[in-house]
């Protein structure tokens, strides 16, 4: 935080703090701390021990002053997570809207840059391998690296995975590690139960770090499965950072194109609930197996 080196800045900081305190977003203690930092012309150093959590009012709260038809605004807000009906301060957003925007943006960035935790992989009993992208930065800068397994990964899969199964399930971080941790605990058991009770032979699911959708083709070529399904974190938005997609393909080869993949997207607690998605994916996989085709080819058979 910047040093308040003139009176105008102090006044601005003070009014922002007061506004936040008034809205209940900042405790008196937090306000005093920041104010004194500002007044002392000293750089503000957050104290990690007393770091305060800021809670936002519910999204559906009316933010427009004196709305002409409050019911209409509420009804429209209910239809979309988009930032509508948030009022304004002159030509600018209100403090609350701006803070929420910044916070959502931070959540989205975390989803991309953080890794799926080791603790999570252990808890879900998932073997972990990596794409040929060695780091997050490399993964983000060079998409083609995320589409191939690393040499070590290819060796490990060849060694440990069951071959010639009907279905191989992959969990891929893609662009949102948060989506994996939020959805897999409910989605995976539902999907496994569905496939097993339909008598479908499934290989042990495993995790691929820094992976993109196409990495499934590489895996399929090693395990020789009929259907490979990737549960992959979607590019996070400001609405949710936890959305997951399932990409499925029947026997990919060197002639495979994007249209050959079947996708079910928008899996998260505000979209398709993950457990329900698991049951639905079972049906889709059954269709793919019986049609021996996926993507557009599958739709054309229907």
């Amino acid at each position: 935080m910047a040093v308040a080196n003139n009176d105008l800045e102090k006044v601005i900081i003070q009014s922002v703090m007061e506004e936040l305190a008034k809205k209940g977003l900042l405790s008196q203690k937090g306000k005093d701390h920041m104010m004194s930092a500002a007044m002392m012309d000293m750089p503000f150093v957050p104290n990690p021990q007393s770091e305060e959590m800021v809670t936002f009012p519910p999204q559906e709260e009316m933010q427009i002053d004196n709305p002409f038809n409050a019911d209409a605004v509420r009804a429209m807000k209910k239809l979309t997570p988009a930032r509508i009906g948030i009022g304004r301060a002159g030509t600018r957003p209100k403090t609350m809207s701006l803070l929420r925007f910044l916070a959502d943006h931070a959540v989205a960035q975390d989803a991309v840059f953080l890794d799926v935790s080791d603790e999570f992989l252990q808890r879900m009993n998932l073997m972990a391998v990596q794409s040929s992208a060695g780091s997050k930065d490399e993964f983000l800068q060079r998409p083609e690296l995320g589409r191939r397994l690393s040499e070590e990964a290819a060796r490990k899969i060849a060694e440990k995975c069951e071959k010639n199964v009907q279905v191989q399930i992959l969990i891929v971080d893609g662009l949102s590690s948060s989506a994996i941790e939020a959805n897999i605990p409910d989605l995976l058991p539902a999907l496994m139960q569905g496939l097993k009770s339909s008598g479908i032979k499934v290989g042990a699911p495993f995790f691929i770090k820094n992976g993109r959708v196409w990495v499934q083709d590489h895996v399929a070529s090693i395990v020789n499965c009929d259907v490979v399904i990737s549960l992959i974190g979607e590019r996070p938005g400001l609405g949710t950072a936890e959305s997951l997609s399932a990409y499925m393909i029947y026997r990919p080869d060197e002639n495979t194109v994007e249209a050959d993949r079947t996708v079910i997207s928008n899996i998260h607690k505000g979209g398709i609930p993950p457990a329900e998605a698991g049951a639905h994916l079972t049906d889709v996989i059954k269709q793919i197996l019986s049609a021996k085709a996926s993507g557009v080819k599958l739709n054309q058979q229907k």
Partner: protein
């Protein structure tokens, strides 16, 4: 797997009221509206009325007995006029409304008509349901959704006034008052009273008026009692503290009035006289249908105006209920449908809601709750099929959904042992996974229908029709029967 993306179904609505009987035939288009990358979502996307019957006087054998044979003759001739046979009807509803529903033989008539009017037609009745259908048919529901304003639809018929309050397209409140335009009968175009019904007698006594059968009355003599009735109708909108007369004539609990009301729509036979340009000036104009409907309409408009309510014009007046019945009675629902086709349609499935509070955590505790409710309702002793209704599992986690499935199987042991289908209706979006969990946990193959995203508040019975869209959805009709109130 055949997966056509839309299908048209033909729906009939039949309304047998105190005064009139009518029918409409509509064509409903059902479609999968979800894009390919989402879970399919089948819904009704278009409703078109393809045939409106004439408006018949309800045939009566005597004052208390509807002439079922004559009613079925009316249906027969209207089907011919529409170029349809009963086999061509996919779904629909018969609604017995107003005073008629009070009459002891109503259930028998419904049963007779349900058989006559095609395989999937279901019978329904009930003052609250009637009010809601009328408000949907009149356009009040749509008005509230489009304008984001609360509106009350009052369907004023021959025997009753049915209130339904709509907020954002949904009925949030309803009530029924025993006031209608046919409660006193006259010689047509004349001034001689031929019949005074019980509620009219009550109104006369309470207002200190003296009118008798056989008597000839003038407009000034008739006006006070009609005015009093109109004011009762308005009073229900204004306050929950009622006059003696209103209190006596209410057939259901009054409106809760949780939402402030300004906009009012009137439908039903009396509605056209509410929206008339001028008031009836002679008795002959009042008794044009052998009753006092035109005068009640005018007086109602006067009362509403002076109480400060804003009258909105409905899309349909006298046909609102029948159109609502024909086009709005059907819900579609998908999710898990594991059924032999011959099991459907199922009619009059009793809805059991065992979970009043939070759903417990373990399968054993869930089973306990279900068992005690089933014993209390003596389900085992009846032949009937029941549906378990709930908001959803404890949470949407797979663990809780799976526990619920196990608890359900345990709790319903004695029921499914008789090869009855296991029917679940819930609000939460997890019908597929719950159905999957039930099948995975069951020790032998079961007939299961798991219907999600349906609200079953205030619903006593449901009907489930034959599957549509290649077995992906079933038509579901929720109903509240007047007979047990």
């Amino acid at each position: 797997m055949p997966e056509s993306n839309n299908q048209r179904i033909t729906s009939v609505g039949i309304d047998i009221g105190t005064t009139t009987t009518q029918l409409v035939i509509s064509q409903l288009t059902i479609e999968n509206t979800a894009s390919g990358s989402l879970v399919p979502h089948v819904e009704i996307t278009d409703k078109e009325v393809i045939h409106r019957s004439q408006i018949y006087f309800t045939p009566l054998v005597d004052r208390d007995l509807v002439n079922a044979v004559a009613v079925s003759k009316i249906l027969e001739s209207e089907y011919i006029a529409a170029g349809l046979t009963p086999e061509m009807i996919d779904t629909g509803a018969v609604i017995i409304t107003g005073e008629t529903a009070k009459k002891e033989n109503a259930k028998a008539i419904i049963d007779a008509l349900a058989g006559f009017a095609g395989d999937f037609v279901v019978a329904t009745a009930g003052a609250n349901l009637e009010a809601i259908f009328a408000g949907k048919g009149s356009g009040a529901a749509l008005y509230s959704a489009e304008r984001h304003q609360v509106v009350v639809n009052i369907d004023v018929g021959g025997g009753t006034s049915n209130y339904a309050t709509f907020h954002e397209g949904k009925a949030v409140d309803s009530s029924c008052l025993n006031i209608g335009g046919h409660l006193i009968e006259f010689e047509r175009h004349g001034d001689r009273i031929t019949y005074i019904s019980e509620p009219a007698q009550t109104a006369l006594e309470t207002t200190g008026q003296r009118l008798q059968v056989g008597e000839r009355v003038t407009l000034p003599q008739l006006r006070p009692v009609v005015k009093a009735m109109a004011e009762c109708i308005v009073e229900v909108l204004k306050t929950s503290v009622h006059s003696n007369l209103t209190h006596k004539l209410l057939m259901t609990p009054p409106l809760q009035l949780a939402h402030p009301i300004r906009k009012v729509m009137i439908s039903g036979g009396v509605a056209d006289y509410v929206y008339a340009e001028k008031e009836p000036e002679r008795m002959a104009e009042v008794t044009v249908f052998g009753d006092f409907g035109p005068l009640l309409g005018w007086e109602l408009k006067v009362s509403l105006d002076s109480a400060g309510f804003v009258l909105e014009k409905p899309n349909e007046t006298v046909r609102a209920t029948v159109i609502g019945t024909g086009t709005q009675s059907v819900n579609l629902s998908g999710s898990t449908i594991h059924l032999q086709e011959t099991t459907l349609p199922l009619r009059n499935i009793m809805v059991v809601s065992p979970f009043t509070a939070v759903i417990p955590e373990t399968p054993e505790m869930i089973a306990e709750v279900i068992k005690s409710e089933m014993i209390q309702l003596q389900v085992a002793q009846t032949e009937g099929v029941v549906a378990i209704a709930m908001k959803g599992p404890r949470t949407m986690s797979f663990l809780d959904i799976n526990s619920f499935a196990q608890g359900l199987l345990l709790g319903m042991q004695d029921y499914i042992v008789n090869a009855k289908p296991l029917i679940l209706v819930m609000e939460a979006d997890c019908g597929k996974v719950l159905g999957q969990c039930i099948n995975a946990s069951a020790t032998h193959p079961l007939e299961v229908i798991c219907i999600d995203q349906i609200e079953v508040d205030n619903c006593d019975y449901i009907d489930i029709g034959k599957p549509l869209m290649g077995g992906r959805v079933v038509p579901v009709v929720l109903k509240t029967l007047v007979f047990n109130r």
